[in-house]
């Protein structure tokens, strides 16, 4: 059955090439835009190296201190994280690391600006960076305040050309580090792990950060398994309530939570008052926007399909005369339309690979890497089918309503 539908669909597509072209053009461009958007979303939130254990990790990315007159929000500080994330039950590893800050170096008189991130040793165990040479620094390096650094590949190129960097020294912001490892660059969009230069936390110019409740740090908590995550969230929340406020006159409450990067993003998008279901809400909003974006192309396709009903009049008449039910006919036309959309989706997918390549090479987003992956491909198929249903149902209903006698005669209006 499906086979003969498909055969028919191909024949119809080849019959009027101009119309097929118009339909495919619209479908593929629509899906191109949506797929570029999903690929970028995936590049930011999907699991990709070095963040391979996203499914069983949580982070502390934001904190907020609330007082009667003022609100301070931003990255949590080292002291806050140090008091809350250490030794959480169910956690395999916990890492504290700073938000990347930009630093200036001079390389033969020319200024080089790089991002520098300070991390502990656990950072390298949680995140699976691909080392091109050397290796990470260890917990001991971090404890002793060794001036060692892991750099990414573009930084190696900027400082040392094509030569090996391990064992050589590099100056950044007036400090000198010995390079111990070189990693493959992480896209800028992966804000949690992105940096050019990674050095131990203890190499900071002063140790004032140890007392700060707010500012400059993030934590990553890796659980043994997914089932430990709810327990970790709860325990973290109770620990937060127990922290004494450093400045109770100005700030009385502390708000922070162990969450996923997407939840953190959703938290920033929504109002303070919305406390629960933010991530789900944001996801619904994004999907809603996508469907809205598809409305115009869908109406366009509906119009094209409706205006072409008469082309198929005799076929419909014959089928009806021989007893095909309306449901069968609707099914057939929807299948046809979905097939058309899948073909358009395939073209859109190919185009989006090209478009992403262009976006990546334009360097608007440093070290962007939009490898087409199976997740984006699945999104693409899903989007194409949704689009096909959206634009196929109305014309199909209309076609199936044709009266057999009129249809056989060639149809009036």
């Amino acid at each position: 059955m499906l086979q003969s539908y498909l055969k028919l669909a191909v024949k119809v597509l080849l019959r009027r090439k101009f119309f097929t072209f118009i339909s495919l053009f619209g479908i593929s461009l629509t899906l191109l835009v949506l797929m570029v958007a999903t690929a970028m979303f995936d590049a930011e939130y999907g699991p990709c190296p070095p963040e391979t254990k996203l499914d069983r990790s949580l982070g502390v990315f934001r904190a907020r201190m609330i007082g009667p007159h003022s609100i301070r929000s931003g990255d949590p500080g080292y002291a806050l994280l140090d008091q809350t994330v250490r030794g959480l039950p169910g956690a395999e590893e916990v890492s504290l690391h700073s938000s990347p800050g930009s630093v200036t170096s001079y390389q033969g008189g020319a200024r080089v600006t790089s991002y520098l991130k300070r991390t502990d040793g656990a950072f390298w165990r949680i995140y699976e960076f691909r080392f091109l040479e050397g290796g990470p620094y260890t917990d001991e390096d971090e404890k002793s305040g060794a001036f060692v650094a892991v750099i990414n590949e573009p930084t190696r190129r900027r400082f040392f050309g094509e030569a090996s960097a391990v064992g050589r020294t590099l100056e950044a912001d007036g400090q000198t580090f010995r390079v111990v490892g070189v990693v493959e660059a992480v896209p800028f969009l992966r804000t949690i792990v992105f940096s050019d230069i990674y050095v131990p936390i203890t190499t900071a110019k002063s140790d004032a950060y140890r007392k700060e409740m707010m500012g400059g740090f993030l934590a990553t908590i890796l659980a043994h398994g997914r089932s430990d995550l709810p327990g970790i969230r709860r325990e973290f929340a109770t620990r937060v309530t127990r922290i004494p406020m450093p400045d109770p006159k100005n700030y009385t409450t502390l708000q922070t939570s162990a969450e996923t990067p997407f939840e953190s993003f959703a938290g920033e998008m929504f109002d303070l008052k919305v406390q629960t279901g933010r991530a789900a809400g944001l996801l619904a909003l994004i999907i809603g926007a996508m469907v809205l974006f598809m409305v115009l192309p869908a109406i366009n396709l509906v119009n094209l399909n409706v205006s072409r009903i008469m082309e198929r009049a005799s076929e419909i008449g014959v089928r009806k005369a021989f007893g095909a039910s309306r449901r069968t006919l609707v099914g057939q036309f929807v299948v046809e339309n979905v097939l058309l959309c899948l073909v358009g989706g395939a073209i859109g997918l190919a185009l989006s690979a090209v478009a992403l390549q262009i976006i990546a090479s334009s360097e608007i987003i440093p070290y962007a890497r939009f490898a087409p992956n199976y997740r984006v491909f699945l999104y693409g198929i899903g989007l194409s089918s949704l689009f096909g249903l959206l634009s196929g149902v109305y014309p199909a209903l209309k076609m199936s309503r044709l009266h057999p006698v009129e249809a056989l005669r060639g149809g009036s209006r």
């Binding site: 366009n300 008469m310 060639g410």
Partner: protein
């Protein structure tokens, strides 16, 4: 004639409804793009109010906890400025709380001194040499200077936009921005700038206030950046010498030096990228609608051969037929424009778009009307010519 066309359109209302809907949504897309484009162009051609060429910014991070600055740190910042000043290529240097084109924004909101709704403005705190470094253009009053030392008020320089908003055509010089209260001295307006668009050419027009950094006790916030003007044609090597001088003076401090030209390019790129991608998506959508519309019209013409043939047989000229097809199209487009326009006008009415002025809304409505009619007529051109070529003989023996 017009009544005829209206009747023809009405007779096919079911099929035409979807076309009208499509045109209405296209109209909304065109309206959005036109509003965005006109808004940005309008902002771009307004003066920036300062010169960024040959100006460099050094962001300064002191060691230790932020927010608590003792006299030692204040002294260090003074020393840093002196050290930079000693480099021959440096013309002027001073402190500023946030660099032009930077991501750091301070927004304040004050109650009006003469009552009424509170007003909002962006603010930076700058040293006395800031006007010469940025080549600011005063249009009224004066820039603040040593003559304000020891005064019983805080001197403020505001931009023309804020001056108009607060005082209309009257001169704001000598008037208070905020009256003395809670032991704080009066904030007095001493000068009006043509403008100071800190966030660059593509940013929205906004109120702005420049506050004087107190030379006696500058705050930590006011000293977050050193801004300096180099003599024109300075060699690149000056930069490394500036940093060396800074690092030698401020042990344990961090510095990041960048030319404003670079910061401007980055800020504009960041603002332009979403605009360009939105524009590209809109062009795709419109192109698609255009092709789709052509297809639908073509198909309609082939379905109406009998009708058109009959008209030709009764003496209508090819021109009449073309007018009829295009006339129907214009009616449909007008319906779409009315429907889309009713929706589009809700955005400024409900103040969903923020700072877009009525003038821009009207201009973009006009532009999108012209564009939509242009688009539909372009799409109708070929199908209507095709219709006009139908001969009565061919049409009448159609069946």
């Amino acid at each position: 004639m017009i009544r005829h066309i209206l009747k023809l359109v009405w007779n096919r209302k079911r099929a035409n409804f979807l076309l009208v809907l499509e045109m209405a949504i296209s109209f909304l897309v065109l309206f959005g793009v036109a509003a965005l484009g006109i808004y940005c162009y309008d902002g771009y051609r307004r003066p920036l109010g300062f010169a960024w060429e040959d100006v460099w910014n050094v962001s300064v991070v002191a060691p230790g906890p932020e927010g608590e600055w003792g006299p030692d740190k204040v002294e260090t910042v003074r020393q840093l400025a002196i050290a930079v000043r000693g480099i021959p290529e440096v013309e002027q240097v001073t402190t500023v709380s946030a660099a032009p084109f930077s991501n750091s924004h301070d927004i304040s909101s004050y109650d009006r001194p003469n009552g009424g709704a509170p007003f909002e403005f962006g603010v930076i705190v700058a040293g006395d040499a800031f006007d010469k470094i940025m080549k600011l253009r005063m249009i009224d009053g004066r820039w603040f200077s040593a003559e304000d030392d020891g005064a019983n008020y805080h001197p403020k320089v505001i931009n023309q936009r804020l001056a108009r908003e607060l005082f209309g055509t009257a001169s704001p010089i000598g008037k208070p921005l905020a009256i003395a209260a809670d032991g704080r001295p009066e904030e007095r307006i001493v000068g009006v700038l043509q403008d100071f668009r800190k966030n660059g050419e593509l940013s929205a027009p906004a109120n702005f206030v420049i506050s004087r950094a107190d030379p006696q006790s500058p705050s930590a916030h006011a000293s977050e950046n050193l801004i300096l003007r180099l003599r024109p044609g300075s060699p690149k090597s000056a930069e490394a010498r500036i940093v060396a001088a800074l690092q030698a003076t401020g042990k344990g401090w961090s510095f990041e030096i960048r030319p404003l030209s670079e910061m401007r390019a980055l800020a504009n790129k960041v603002r332009l990228a979403p605009l360009l991608s939105a524009g590209m998506v809109a062009v795709f959508l419109i192109l698609m609608v255009g092709l789709g519309l052509t297809g639908v019209l073509w198909q309609n013409v082939t379905q109406r051969i009998k009708e058109i043939g009959l008209r030709r047989a009764k003496g209508a000229t090819a021109r009449d037929i073309q007018t009829q097809i295009l006339g129907e199209l214009v009616v449909l487009a007008s319906a779409g424009i009315v429907l889309g326009g009713v929706i589009a006008i809700q955005f400024p009415l409900l103040a969903l778009v923020g700072p877009i002025s009525t003038g821009i809304v009207l201009a973009s409505l006009a532009a999108s009307v012209v564009l939509l009619y242009g688009l539909t007529l372009l799409c109708g051109a070929y199908p209507s010519r095709m219709a006009s070529r139908i001969t009565p003989a061919e049409a009448l023996h159609y069946e």
